[in-house]
């Protein structure tokens, strides 16, 4: 009779692991804030409890470099840049026809991103948008996942002014980085639109006065009814153009707050759950954070892609 196994492990091993988890969970229930408020202070050692989290929104300054304050989120962003550049350099140092495992991994990730770009934007536009979209995706996901490692938010350091700040903090939780990425995405979308359609034709989407002046010309020439109805449509066109321009600008703000809000909320959630029940209960929330990091990276780069595609397609209705 074959031995029963769960996921390849024998039954005693699984039962043992489950018992260890249960013991850890019970100990953390008793020592965390939840247990303390329900049962009172039993007298478990102090190192089992997590201090109450004080989430602060502005990032703490670690040191000053040439007059610029270097905050802990900047250090985290540098770390993810170093990791990304290092991994890609190591994989492409000697590109082989029969690839190594690292090369396979990175090639499949980039191939998936290129596929996404080409699916949404078409063959050649997809290839054109791919560098910026893929960079945004990889940077955001590296920042998000890196901030889940131990060391982020727990190493304390005293800076020059004597305050204790954390050494590392998730780069996406500082509002400046999502703002910078949103501005980059905005600039690139406008650049691609102007490049594809020509400056005047692209900006005509926002300053839509053609119909208005045409109808004024009709009025002057004596065709009252056509002129008046044309003028009415012209005014609506101008208004719609202004709304389009406004929505382009509001897009920057919505990109920023979407990424910043998701990441900060996730960080605060993890801190609070770790404060309540330190050990086993945090695991599902870590899984949630992994998922949220991936989805937010996908959303940021995917929305950039979609808006770029909209910006470079000809407005067939106008050119009738």
């Amino acid at each position: 009779m074959p031995k029963r196994s769960f996921l390849g492990c024998s039954v005693p091993l699984v039962v043992g692991v489950l018992l260890v988890f249960l013991a850890l969970f019970l100990v953390s229930l008793l020592s965390g804030a939840l247990g303390k408020s329900l049962l009172g202070d039993i007298g478990l050692p102090g190192w089992l409890s997590v201090p109450q989290p004080h989430p602060e929104l502005p990032a703490g300054v670690v040191f000053h470099l040439l007059g610029f304050p270097i905050t802990n989120s900047i250090i985290a962003a540098w770390l993810s840049i170093i990791i990304l550049v290092g991994i890609f350099y190591a994989a492409t140092r000697r590109v082989k026809l029969v690839p190594t495992r690292l090369q396979i991994m990175l090639e499949s990730a980039l191939g998936w991103l290129l596929n996404l770009c080409q699916e949404v934007a078409g063959e050649e536009n997809g290839r054109r948008f791919f560098p910026v979209v893929a960079t945004i995706f990889l940077f955001v996901i590296t920042n998000a996942w890196l901030s889940l490692l131990p060391g982020f938010g727990s190493i304390l350091i005293t800076n020059a002014e004597g305050e204790t700040v954390h050494l590392l903090r998730g780069a996406n939780t500082d509002i400046n980085l999502p703002l910078a990425l949103a501005l980059i995405s905005f600039i690139f979308v406008e650049y691609w639109g102007i490049r594809s359609l020509g400056g005047r034709r692209y900006l005509r989407k926002f300053v839509n006065v053609g119909q208005f002046f045409r109808s004024m010309g009709q009025l002057v020439r004596g065709r009252l009814r056509a002129g008046l109805s044309g003028m009415f449509t012209g005014v609506i066109d101008i208004f719609v153009g202004m709304l389009e321009a406004l929505s382009e600008l509001v897009r920057i703000i919505s990109f920023t707050f979407r990424l910043f809000g998701n990441m900060t909320a996730g960080e605060i959630l993890l801190l609070i759950v770790a404060f309540l029940v330190p050990w086993v209960l945090v695991l599902p929330f870590y899984g949630l954070e992994l998922l949220v990091g991936f989805v937010q990276a996908l959303i940021f780069s995917g929305l950039t892609l979609v808006f770029a595609t909209i910006a470079v397609t000809h407005h067939e209705a106008e050119t009738a």
């Binding site: 979407r258 605060i268 989805v295 996908l298 995917g302």
Partner: protein, 78 residues
């Protein structure tokens, strides 16, 4: 009422009321996606991609409410 009490109330109301809209919106999106998937299981890729995209838009509104709640409760605003 004292300022602290109103502050806590404001933060709770901001997040709570602000989560109603996105919740309903995402539910409606999921409903539409399920219907489309049921009618045409082969179009699973595009349906899922567009659904996730639209859900991100709806969720961003909920995140705005969360940010306002954090700002009020953390005494950064008002």
């Amino acid at each position: 009422m004292e300022t602290e009490a109103i502050r806590m109330l404001a933060a709770g109301l901001a997040m709570g009321l602000g989560a109603i809209g996105p919740g309903i919106g995402i539910g409606i999106l999921g409903y539409g996606a399920m219907q489309a998937l049921g009618r045409n299981p082969e179009a699973r890729g595009p349906i899922m991609t567009n659904m996730i995209l639209a859900i991100a838009f709806a969720e961003a509104i909920g995140i705005y409410a969360l940010i306002v709640a954090i700002l009020i409760a953390g005494k950064i605003l008002g």
